[in-house]
Every structure is written in C-alpha cells, then in structure tokens.
C-alpha cells in the first residue's frame, strides 16, 4: 500500500492543474476563488502524505522505500522505465516543497486577489508543484529530465505571468534559454551515461559508481555534465544572469520557484548523483569552487541593489553557492541541510517583500521606510528571517551555515576565507534592506505591481498573507535545531556523523562559530551605522569606492557581455546573419544561377534553329566528318 502514496503525492497537484485548466477556467471562470481552494486542498493533502512518507522512510531499512516501476519504452537495448523512489533525500525534499508550496499558495490568495489571471496562476502553480515533486521522486534520468524541464517551463510561464509587460516577457525568455544552455550539458551527460552503462536507473548508477565500475575520466565528464545542468538551474556563475531578471514574476512565484524550490533543484541534482561526484576529485572540487566563488560574487552585487527583490535574488544566488560549497566540501547532508533551512527563511523574505509591496506598491527601497509601525507582523517576521540568513545563533541559518564553514575550513582554506567574507556581506545587505524598508520614515511609494490599489494607505496585509509569514518565521527559527544533535546528518548521510555537533549551547565553546558571529554582527552594525543611525553617509562611501560601486551595480557587465556582445553581435548579427546571407545569396543564388544559366543556354542554342536548310546541311556534314575522323583515330 505504501508504494501508492508517492504516486498520490505527485498526482494530487497534477489533478489540481487538470481540474483548473480544463474545468474551472473554461466553465467556472466567474468563480476565481475555486482555483485557489483546489490548489491549496491538493497541496495540503500532498503535504500531509509527505510527512507520512517521512515517517515511513525513517523506519524503512536503509531509509529507502521500494516502489515498482512501469515499462515506458523498449527499443532494442533502450529500455526506459518510469518510476518513483523515496529515500532520505527525497523525503526531506518532499517536506520542503510541500510546506513552502502550501504556505505560498495560501499567501497568494491574498496577494493575487482580483488579478484577471487568477485561474491561470493557480493552474501553473499546481503544475509546478507536481513537476517539482516528480523531480525529487524520479528514479531514473529520463523521468527526472522530464520534470527538470517541466519546472523550467513553469518558471518560464510564471516569470512571464504578466506577459504584457515587455520586461517580464524578456525575463521569461532569458530564464528559459540560459537554463537550457546548462541543460545541454545535462542531456549530454545523460547520453554519455547511457552509452557507457546502458542504464538510466539512478539506483543502478549509484551502484556502478560505488562499485568502481564507473570511474576515471568518464565519471568526471559525466559529473561535470550533470553539474552544468545544476549550474543553469541554480543560477551559479557563469549562468547566474537569469535569476535577478526573473524577479519580474509575481512575488509568491519568486518565493516558491526562484528561492525555495526550483533553483535549489540544481543543488538537489548534485546531491542525487553524489556517489558519482564523490568518486571524482575533480568534479567535487569544481562544485566547491564554483559554489564558493558564486557565493561571494553574487553577494557583492547584493550590496548595492536598490530593489528589494533584486537584493533577495542575489542573496539567493549567493546562498545557493553556499549549498554547492557545502556539497563539494562537506557532503550531501551539509549541502542539503542548508537547502532545507534556506527554503524557509528565503521564502519568508520574499513573501515579506511581497507584503511590503502590497502596502506600498513598490519594490524600490528608496521609496519605502518606516514600515515597522504600519506593518508590525511583516516587520517581525522579516527581521527573524534576516537574522536567520545572517547566521545568528540560535536561528536556523546559523546551524547550517556554520557546518559549511567548518567543512570548507578543513577542505579548502581559500574558499573558507571567501565564505567568511560572504558572511559579513550577507549580514550587511540583509540589514541594509531591513533598515531601508522598515526603519526611518516613510518616503513615498508608487503604484502597485498589479494596479488594483488606488490611494496608498500603509496597512498590514490581510490575515491570509500574515499567517503564512508567521508559520515560515517559526520554521526559520526552529528548522535548524533538527541537526543540533546530528540527527539530520545521520538520516541523510546514512549513519556517518561528520559535522561538529556539540549540542545547543555546546557549539558556542568552539571558536569558529564565534568568528562567524562576530563577522555577521559587524555586518549588521555597519548597516545600522550607514542606514539607520547615519553615522556614516552611504553616499560618501559609495563615492569613495566608486569603481567598485559601478562594478557591482552594473553586475560586472555580464548582461552586456552576454546579451549585447555574444548573443547580439557575435551570434545573431554575426554568425547567424552570415548564414542567412549565405543562404539567400550563396545557396539559393546558385540554384537560381543554374536556372538562369539553363535559360540563357536555351536562348543561345535557339539561335541555331534558324530554319535555313543550308545551315542544317552544313552542320550534318561537319558531324559526319567528325564521326569519321573519330572512327579513324580510335576505331
């Protein structure tokens, strides 16, 4: 019986999508609320079942449930099954996805209220949740790839939700194409794996990697290909450019897809194939280096953004970098534990930003200020999440971040120092956002994201939006405590405890946490000095470091490099235009040239058909002579 439950978990949101798009949208469009209720019901049920599965997995032997497969395709040696697997990693991901999705769907009832695309919104959100659940449960590469692209599609559709805005349409397209560049690597890795092993089954591939059948350069190339897919999805350097633009989508979408779940799918993918990475030193180092570098690289851009969602977007990229660093340096449990905690506090931050927008109508922090009085719940929960992401004891971010720092300290000192600097930056940019948004006095506001609000009275958001904030705030405090005694590591790492776990207070006897706490504290203090107490002038500092300020605020000119230079000049106006010119002038020109040549030859030969018998007789005589000469010479 148990093996039906994963299928039900996956199918519930899928049916919700089908019901909304094929029944509610065409026939009951005048009852928009229904779509929301169906979605929330389906995901709520999936959430409850996910907890049941977690309990089952905890007690199952080897933390793994056996679920029978279904044959999907059989051609010669190519045999593809579809099937689900539930192991410790999946169980954790199921919890993350369903909880965040459920809170976001409830929140959206308030946030998207009155939007004309209400049904479309919930249909896509349901489809996304179904794909995400399928992605974490898929037991073979082809099935996983199906959902991998599926979440990408939903991301595309939801970023471009307000498609009439050119910026949203551009951002959606950019997100899809940039991630597809990474998927190219992933697909190549899948083909390579099949060529070498003849199987797509994840369990079998794990076995082959652990048994040492799959080794050497093969393994490294496969791992790097898979990682390329992860780099695209998780917006790691150098494919990070799409995520900040993706903020054009509705804010709950950013919270669910572009903070908590889909972008973390890259991290999940590396974790899913961790046995492959583990056996290739080079692959593991690449993951750590790309992750560590992205963490600090994105954080620098987060320092100077004025749009609160963009700050959070860069923060997400940076935190995803941390997770990759954790995977590369410490292992599966460490990376995934940060994913687990991050999902809650980052979703909370985004929902908080949405709540602020609901009231002020803007995402520009320069127009906000003083909201702590008008929006006490939003303020309190946002503050908790900020403390958590900054890594302040004893909130959840502290526990997972310090594990990453410790493991990188042992593994790669350079990355450790970079990560330490990033801790400082993270605390600074988060509290810069907190002080600019909630501190000081109110500075204006602007027209709302969806234009349904007239005059702007600052107000707390409705209950339907505040309750999810509170739930996520509670999780942002407590979720980290799961690993205080190393239980989480034990569960995911299958028995080997390799983090420094010395208890709730015991951890403070270790020097390393103190260093990171001091760094985070000074980041908060600097933000306070600059943006709240105004001991230091932000403008003066910006001027003093103006080259850096330009570098960060222009995002290192990566957008210009990719869009204008590489895509615009080199490809579209260069190579592709060359091909187009060659096609119309070269290839087709040759075709028409042959045709014209034939016609011209016909016109020329036509002159011979003069109708004068003497000429014909002459030609006949010449021909006969020629034939006779030939006979004489060759015959």
């Amino acid at each position: 019986m148990t093996y039906h439950i994963p299928w039900i978990v996956f199918l519930l949101p899928l049916f919700s999508f089908i019901i909304i798009s094929f029944i509610l949208r065409p026939f009951l469009n005048y009852r928009p609320k229904l779509g929301g209720y169906v979605t929330i019901g389906a995901i709520g049920a999936a959430c409850a079942l996910s907890f049941w599965l977690l309990v089952e997995v905890l007690s199952a032997p080897g933390h793994k449930l056996e679920i029978p497969d279904i044959q999907w395709l059989l051609i010669g040696d190519l045999s593809i099954h579809i099937g689900l697997m539930v192991d410790a990693l999946t169980a954790v991901m199921l919890i993350v996805v369903t909880i965040v999705s459920l809170t976001v769907q409830i929140y959206s009832q308030g946030y998207m209220h009155g939007d004309p695309g209400y049904h479309r919104y919930y249909a896509f959100m349901s489809l996304f949740t179904a794909c995400m659940l399928g992605l974490v449960m898929a037991d073979n590469l082809v099935f996983l790839y199906l959902f991998w692209e599926g979440v990408g599609l939903c991301s595309y559709l939801l970023i471009g939700f307000w498609f009439h805005r050119p910026a949203a349409a551009d951002a959606a397209k950019k997100a899809f194409i940039v991630t597809r560049l990474g998927d190219f690597g992933f697909l190549a890795a899948i083909l390579f794996l099949f060529y070498k092993t003849g199987t797509f089954d994840i369990g079998e591939l794990h076995g082959l990697a652990i048994a040492g059948t799959l080794t050497g350069t093969t393994l490294t190339w496969v791992a790097i290909g898979i990682f390329a897919g992860a780099v695209g999805k998780s917006a790691q350097f150098p494919l990070h450019v799409w995520l900040p633009d993706a903020m054009e989508g509705p804010t709950p979408v950013s919270a669910l897809i572009h903070a908590a779940t889909m972008v973390a799918a890259g991290v999940f993918l590396v974790a899913r194939f961790f046995p492959l990475f583990e056996n290739s030193e080079m692959a593991l180092t690449s993951v750590a280096v790309i992750g560590g570098f992205t963490a600090i690289f994105a954080a620098t851009m987060g320092l100077v953004m004025t749009d609160i969602k963009r700050v959070l977007a860069y923060s997400t990229i940076s935190q995803l970098g941390y997770m990759m660093l954790g995977l590369g340096a410490g292992g599966i449990a460490i990376g995934i534990f940060h994913l687990f905690n991050h999902a809650f506090f980052k979703a909370l931050l985004f929902l908080g930003a949405g709540s602020v927008n609901h009231s002020t109508g803007t995402f520009d922090m320069r127009e906000m200020g003083g909201l702590r009085k008008a929006m006490p719940w939003t303020y309190a929960t946002f503050l908790i999440a900020s403390l958590s992401i900054a890594g302040i004891w004893p909130l959840s971010g502290f526990w997972s971040k310090d594990e990453i720092l410790v493991s990188s300290f042992a593994n790669n000192p350079i990355l450790f120092y970079l990560a330490m600097i990033t801790v400082f930056m993270t605390a600074f940019y988060m509290f810069r956002a907190v002080f600019l948004t909630f501190g000081g006095e109110y500075r204006g506001g602007a027209s709302s994201e969806h234009g349904s609000h007239g005059a702007h009275q600052l107000h707390e958001s409705p209950k339907v939006m505040v309750i999810p904030l509170v739930v996520l705030a509670a999780l942002s405090i407590f979720s980290g405590w799961l690993n205080v005694t190393g239980r989480f590591d034990e569960f995911l790492g299958h028995g080997e405890v390799h983090s420094f776990t010395q208890g709730f207070f015991g951890i403070l006897t270790h020097p390393l946490p103190w260093i990171s706490l001091i760094l985070a504290g000074s980041g908060i203090l600097l933000a306070y000095a600059m943006y709240s107490a105004k001991w230091l002038s932000a403008e003066a500092i910006g001027k003093a470091f103006s080259p850096f300020y330009a570098l960060f605020s222009r995002k290192y000119w990566f957008d210009e490099l990719y869009e204008r230079v590489i895509v615009g000049r080199v490809l579209v106006d260069g190579l592709f235009a060359g091909c187009g010119f060659f096609d119309s002038r070269g290839v087709d020109g040759a075709v028409n040239g042959v045709a014209d040549g034939t016609a011209a030859a016909g016109r020329a030969l036509r002159q011979a058909q003069s109708g004068q018998l003497q000429v014909y007789a002459m030609a006949i005589a010449v021909g006969i002579v020629a034939i006779m000469v030939c006979f004489y010479l060759f015959g």
Partner: protein
C-alpha cells in the same frame, strides 16, 4: 477474399474527388462536407489497420495487409501494396493530416470545388507513395504528387506564388530524374522491382557502381527531405503555399524523403550507407545547426517555421545514418512527430494571418489578450518544437540522440550527435523569440477586436494537440510498431 484495406485507404480521397467532380453546381458547403467525409473515412480506416496490425514479435519485418496484382507483366511490375512498421505510421500521419487539412481549408472561398479536388488528389498520391511496394508504382505516385502541388501553390498561394510553385516543381523533377535513373539501374541489374525483395538482394554485376546507384536515389530523396544545400525550394514553397498545403507539405511531403532513404537507400545498399555515414551525418549536423541559425534571422512568421523544418529534418537524417536500431526508430518517430508539430505550427500561423492579416514579426505583438485559445495552442506547438519533455518532439529527439550517441556506425558519431544536441538551445531561442514577438508585450491597438479561434478551428487544432501529447506521453504506441519495421533493416546493416 479479404477486404482490401490499403486500396480503400489510398483511393477513398480519389473517390471523394470524383464525387465532387460529378456534383452539378454544388454549394461550397457540400464540397467541403464531401471532402471531409472521405478524408475522415480514410483516416478511420487507417486507424483500424493500426489496431489490426500484428505486433507479435514472430512476424518481424513481414509485410501486412499485402495486395498484389499483376500490372505490367512485361517488366515484372505489380500493383503491390502493403505496410510494415515503417510505413504504417506514415500512412496514419497522412490520413490524419489529410483530414485536418480539409478542416484548415474550411474558409477557402476561391474556386472551392477545384481546390478540394486537388487537395484530395494530393492525399491519394502521397498515400500511394507510402503503401507501394513496387518501384514503378512508387515512382508513379511520387510524380503524381507534383501536379496538385503545382496548382495549389500557384492558384491559391500568396506572394510570389508562381515563382515558388515552378521552383518547387522543377527542383523536385531534377531529383525525380535522378531517382528514376537509380530505379532503372536497380531494375536492369536485378530484374526486380519488388521493394521488399530488393532489400538484402545485393545486385550482382552492377553496370554502374553501387555507390552511384545509392547517390542517384539519395539525391532524389535529399531534395525532398530537404538536405543542405538542396533546401532552398522549401522556404519559398512553404511561405507562398496556402495554409493547408503548407501543413501537408511540411507534415507529410518531406517525410517521403526520409521514408525513401530508409526504404531504399539503407535497405538496398546497407554497405554504401555505412561507408558514407560519416559524411551524411555531418550533413545532418549542418542541417540542424545551419538551419537553426538561418531560422533565427527570419522576420516572416511563416518563413521562420519553414526554416525550422530544415533544422528539424536534420535530426531525421542524423537518425537514419547513425544506423542503429534506436536511431532509426527515433528518426521515424521524429518524422511523425515533426509532421504533427509543424503541421500545427503552420495551421496556427494561418490562423494568426487570417485574423490579423499580418505575418511580419516586427509588426505583430500583444495578441495574447485577444486570442486566448490561439496563444495556448501556439505555445504548445512551439514548446513541442523545441523538444519539451512530455511532447512528441522530446520523445522523438531523445530517442534519436540516444540512438546516435550509442551507435557503432563510425568513430566520431558521438561528437556529431552532441553537436546536433546543441541545436536544441538555438531552437529554444527562435521559438521563444517568435512567441514573444507575436503574443507578448502590450496589446497593439490595430488588433483590437480580432477574433479568437472558432469552433471548427478549435476541433482542428485541439486534435493536433491531442496527438502531440499522446505520442509525447506514450511514445511506445508508435515505437512498438516502428521497431518491427526497423529490425529487419538493421539485420541487413549488420551492426
């Protein structure tokens, strides 16, 4: 005596044609309904054949529903029809698109009687190509198809329609001439015209080299597929043809090239195919990447879709000459999948053009608000074209890639396959750019009040979507049949 399924399927459209011709002064509505009934009947019968088709593994490679009558005894030519796993999907594709083409043409007002006569004639000739097992019969049907195409493009087309029609006919005739030479050389060396018998019957004492015979046939098919650099007739013909003809042209006519390559080039000359596989796969990669690059530069909606066909048919060529069982199955599935996807894309372009009278991407925009149904279906078609999992496009391309990558045909096939995979990134680029240009952005004032799809159009485009999703979610429905046709060919190739 058994019921002659195939003869009935092939000639039902022709009977419809005769009925239309005999009606005295029919209303346009009557003509359309007649055409609809006969194409639908043909489609329904082909589904019956599909269901009756014996899939048990004991009959691998055996022709089913065979009909054989002496036709021209002097040259050993027979009226010989039959289907196997390779041709059956093509027959279904043709009857399916033939039926939908009538629906697509529902609004034709210019000389409807003649129009539908030519359209039905076209369907019969294509069905004949896929069902024939005799080379002379095959060639006859192959040539017959040109006549209706010429009239359909030059009378009901748009733009430079006479130029495009004549270009199409002459280009194809050049290929046909070579093909005829190939067929004659095969006949004179073996004395047989039976396509199934010839497979595996290596000609003894050929009077021209086998390679020459192979390429005579290959060029004929390459023009049809089309293969770079023989593709430039395609964008002109597609762009200027009326919508339904573009649907048929992209949907099934191109497949005659791929079908011919597998049925004749690979089956009769497996060694030559193997020898030249590296070059032909290289051409396939050029087709994919170069086709995609040129597509990205198009500003005419219809021309863009036309060029995308060049790119997508490159995958068919790649699958065929990767010469593995998986890749050939993938190539055949890709032919079917491309038929329904591009057929739908052309139908959608036709709808957009009908309603806005605009095909230039620079001047379109913001139509999503005005056309909620069209935008959804167009997006589904576009996503299928860019190979999104869950659609037939992904299933076909993925099988082709897996087959190509794991093929043992020659060293370097893996590099070529990976280069081909790169095409999916460029495809995503032009498809999404096109969707954005047509549908997204602020609504354009001059398109205010343009209607969405009406009910007949909805039936038509939803049928396409259903087929795309069915094959995408459960490709085994076709591959289980296709592989029966591919296995005996693989035995001949011997890899």
């Amino acid at each position: 005596m058994n019921f002659c399924y195939l003869t009935t399927i092939v000639f039902l459209p022709l009977v419809g044609l005769i009925v239309i011709a005999l009606l005295s002064k029919p209303q346009p509505k009557t003509v359309k309904l007649t055409a609809l009934i006969f194409t639908l009947a043909s489609f329904a019968l082909s589904i019956v054949v599909f269901c009756l088709f014996d899939r048990s593994s004991g009959i691998i490679g055996q022709i089913q529903f065979e009909e054989k009558l002496a036709w021209i005894p002097a040259i050993n030519a027979f009226y010989h029809l039959g289907v196997d796993g390779l041709s059956l999907p093509m027959v279904i594709l043709t009857t399916f698109l033939g039926f939908l083409a009538v629906l697509v043409s529902w609004k034709v007002e210019l000389r409807p009687r003649e129009y539908f006569i030519w359209l039905l004639f076209l369907e019969t000739s294509i069905l004949g190509v896929f069902c024939s097992l005799d080379l002379v019969l095959f060639f006859l049907f192959w040539e017959l198809e040109l006549i209706p195409m010429y009239f359909l493009i030059s009378i009901w087309g748009t733009g430079r329609r006479e130029y495009s029609a004549i270009k199409y006919v002459i280009y194809t005739l050049v290929g046909s001439a070579m093909m005829l030479a190939g067929i004659l050389s095969i006949y004179f060396t073996t004395g047989s015209l039976n396509m199934m018998e010839l497979a595996g019957l290596a000609p003894v004492k050929p009077f021209i080299p086998l390679t020459a015979m192979f390429f005579l046939l290959f060029i004929g098919f390459a023009i049809k597929l089309p293969v770079f650099p023989l593709h430039t007739w395609l964008p002109d013909a597609h762009t200027d043809a009326p919508t339904a003809v573009s649907v048929i042209l992209a949907g099934v006519l191109l497949k005659m090239g791929g079908y011919g390559m597998i049925r004749l080039c690979v089956s009769i000359f497996p060694e030559v195919a193997l020898n030249y596989a590296p070059w032909l796969v290289l051409l396939a990669v050029v087709n994919v990447l170069y086709g995609a690059a040129v597509t990205l530069r198009q500003t005419d909606l219809k021309r863009l879709i036309a060029y995308s066909s060049v790119s997508h048919m490159g995958y068919v060529l790649l699958g065929i000459f990767a010469l593995s069982q998986i890749s050939l199955t993938g190539a055949t599935l890709q032919m079917f999948s491309h038929g329904i996807i591009t057929g739908l894309l052309f139908a959608m372009v036709g709808l957009v053009y009908d309603k806005t009278h605009e095909r230039n991407l620079e001047r379109l925009g913001g139509l999503a608000r005005q056309m909620p149904v069209i935008v959804v279906v167009f997006s589904v078609a576009g996503l299928a074209a860019l190979g999104l999992p869950g659609t037939s496009g992904f299933a076909a391309e993925f099988i082709t890639f897996v087959g190509g990558y794991s093929s043992a045909a020659f060293e370097g096939i893996r590099l070529y396959t990976i280069l081909g995979v790169l095409g999916i990134v460029i495809t995503a680029g032009y498809i999404l750019w096109m969707l954005q240009r047509v549908f997204y952005g602020p609504p354009v004032e001059k398109f205010d009040g343009v209607p969405d799809a009406d009910n007949i159009e909805k039936v038509c485009i939803f049928s396409f979507v259903g087929a795309i999703m069915l094959v995408g979610l459960y490709p085994a429905i076709l591959t289980d049949v296709i592989k029966l046709g591919i296995m005996p060919i693989m035995k001949l190739v011997g890899l």
